[in-house]
Subunit: 361 residues, 2 copies
């Protein structure tokens, strides 16, 4: 098979070892004679898979006992509606930091059910930075404070956890969960779609403080009530069992590699390789993100001469460096380098960037 | 590997050939160098997978052009809330046929958002039959009429499509879709979770008449509005791409086998093998379902002497006949024999049933 490096922003590259194991077990999981896709979710085999996935995620993130770990469907998108229905009483106000596309999509949906106060926004500079926390205009009695810890399109990442100030802090961590240690106890809830750092699309995870459950609005659809999942071990209905299985293998893989602290060290090294190629290019390449807020997961960059964009992408494809085209709102290129992207992939991209700049610069 | 026959009610057995193909393509789909799990859902590769899945399902079910085919998440359960939010104005009445567990779960959720009129129920005889349509007490201006075409627990299957009488007919076809031909044009909507006859859990399908879209209640979460999926080719957000890929392979497999008419012939033959074992047992085995309404997909049966249940199950396990324990509300055994269960599996079960009855009877 062709060796490629896949810089997709999600669904994204998975660990090679995980894919090999999924392949090996496809027709017969652990001597059961069944594929994981064929197992009753109520049987002991899947029960073990689910329990191990939860336990491993708890270990990886050091999740305190007073937090529930829920496996859901519908991605982060479904949770944009679940947030106000579960956590914001009718007529209440919720606080949002607006740092980019994913913040905006969440705000749009949440504002249909609650008053939204934007505590700060970086829209004035095309979402290229994280607004300084000292400037945030907070609602003292907000139902919650929401932020997106990594914006995949702008390539902007929080390098700290904001102060909660007594309000439940809720974070969309879809694109940098498991990429670095976080102190879960500072959050009311962390949620994430799996398809960037955890597994295939179709699975989402919520890590929610137990005392926040049970207060959903009376008209909340049962499948949009976090309590339905918490009370039934994520099996109120048939869960996305195969996706949970793959996510569980990813958790084991991260544990084997040394956990999230080891991933962080590796991710810093990986990101530095590409940022160095940008910064050493004498303006041939440009990253629009403020230096302090550069993402380790998604690196957007433009070419000074946009006429070269197509040639750059074609040359990258020829070297099997895939899915580098940037989002239309930023233009240029974007390299998404989640946990499963090996250092060799970042080096291959940096080498190509250097050579392309030398050839065309 | 062990050759087993897996009678799980869902997630359930998948075609062996499909699993082999999934295994072969796991690390490199069609020379792309990527697993389907790693592909951007916006890229040409997944675009092809999704388009073929929809086209093949349209071919299989002869879906008219004025119907949308939508791929969703959340199973049938999520749609229980979507039904009233999308199709029943506030204060309206919806009609339900109550033929068992899945009817009841749907009714419970829908009744939170609309008035529910039970046109007929078979609860008086533990959901062992389909109420005669001539007795149904309909609401003339109902927002819709809902039924479940196959109840997996009671083993009760509709052998005809009810009269719509000018009201949109909505069917939960989760457990017998693609097992027989149906005239889609008689329906307002057909919906189904994939994990019985179509693929892994985490994918659901809705086949909805276009003119019914766009009338959702104003407070409907965007992810619960069918129009969000219809307007965006099932990609309003990241779809459960791997599950759709597997479902697409199942569709191709059914097409190769001759389509749903061929499946029906095979399913009749399969079911007859097991029902014959029950009926020839002189009361050693008993199927509680009314003769005319026996399901071809799920066959519940009890042993006259319940003391033998454990021995029956243990002997079945020893022969690699798996997941035969019945639902607690019916007791005894249940053999789920969806499309992907081979005739050999039904014969192996019938042979074992005959021998067990001979030995213990």
């Amino acid at each position: 098979m062709t060796q490629v490096f896949n810089f997709s922003s999600g669904p994204a590259v998975l660990p090679h070892e995980v894919l090999l194991q999924v392949q090996a077990e496809m027709l017969d999981w652990h001597g059961s004679g069944m594929s994981v896709m064929e197992m009753s979710h109520r049987g002991p085999e899947f029960g073990q898979i689910l329990a191990e996935a939860e336990a491993d995620l708890r270990t990886l993130m050091a999740i305190p006992d007073n937090y529930k770990v829920l496996f859901l469907q519908g991605g982060a998108h479904l949770q944009f509606a679940m947030l106000p229905l579960n956590f914001a009483p009718v007529g209440s106000t919720v606080d949002f930091v607006n740092t980019g596309h994913w913040s905006k999509v969440a705000i749009k949906e949440v504002s249909r059910y609650a008053n939204v106060n934007i505590v700060a926004s970086s829209e004035d500079k095309n979402f290229s930075y994280v607004p300084d926390e000292s400037t945030w205009q907070r609602t003292p009695d907000a139902a919650f404070l929401h932020y997106c810890s990594n914006e995949t399109i702008g390539g902007v990442e929080f390098n700290h956890i904001p102060q909660a100030n007594g309000v439940p802090l809720i974070c969309d961590m879809s694109s940098n969960i498991l990429s670095r240690p976080v102190d879960v106890s500072q959050f009311g809830m962390i949620y994430a779609g799996a398809q960037k750092n955890m597994g295939p699309s179709g699975v989402a995870v919520s890590i929610v403080r137990s005392d926040l459950l049970g207060k959903a609005r009376s008209d909340t659809p049962t499948m949009l009530n976090y309590k339905s999942y918490a009370d039934n071990g994520s099996m109120y209905n048939t869960p996305p069992s195969f996706g949970i299985y793959v996510a569980g293998l990813v958790y084991k893989h991260v544990l084997q590699q040394g956990g999230v602290a080891a991933m962080e060290a590796k991710n810093i090294e990986k990101a530095n390789v590409i940022y160095a190629a940008i910064d050493a290019s004498n303006g041939f390449y440009h990253c629009p993100t403020a230096l302090a807020d550069r993402s380790r997961m998604n690196i957007p960059f433009t070419l000074a001469d946009q006429q070269l964009d197509q040639a750059f992408l074609a040359g990258a494809e020829a070297r099997h460096l895939l899915q580098l085209k940037g989002h239309r709102s930023v233009g240029g290129m974007r390299a998404s380098i989640y946990n499963a992207m090996p250092l060799a992939g970042c080096q291959a991209l940096a080498d190509y960037m250097n050579e392309f700049a030398k050839m065309k610069g």
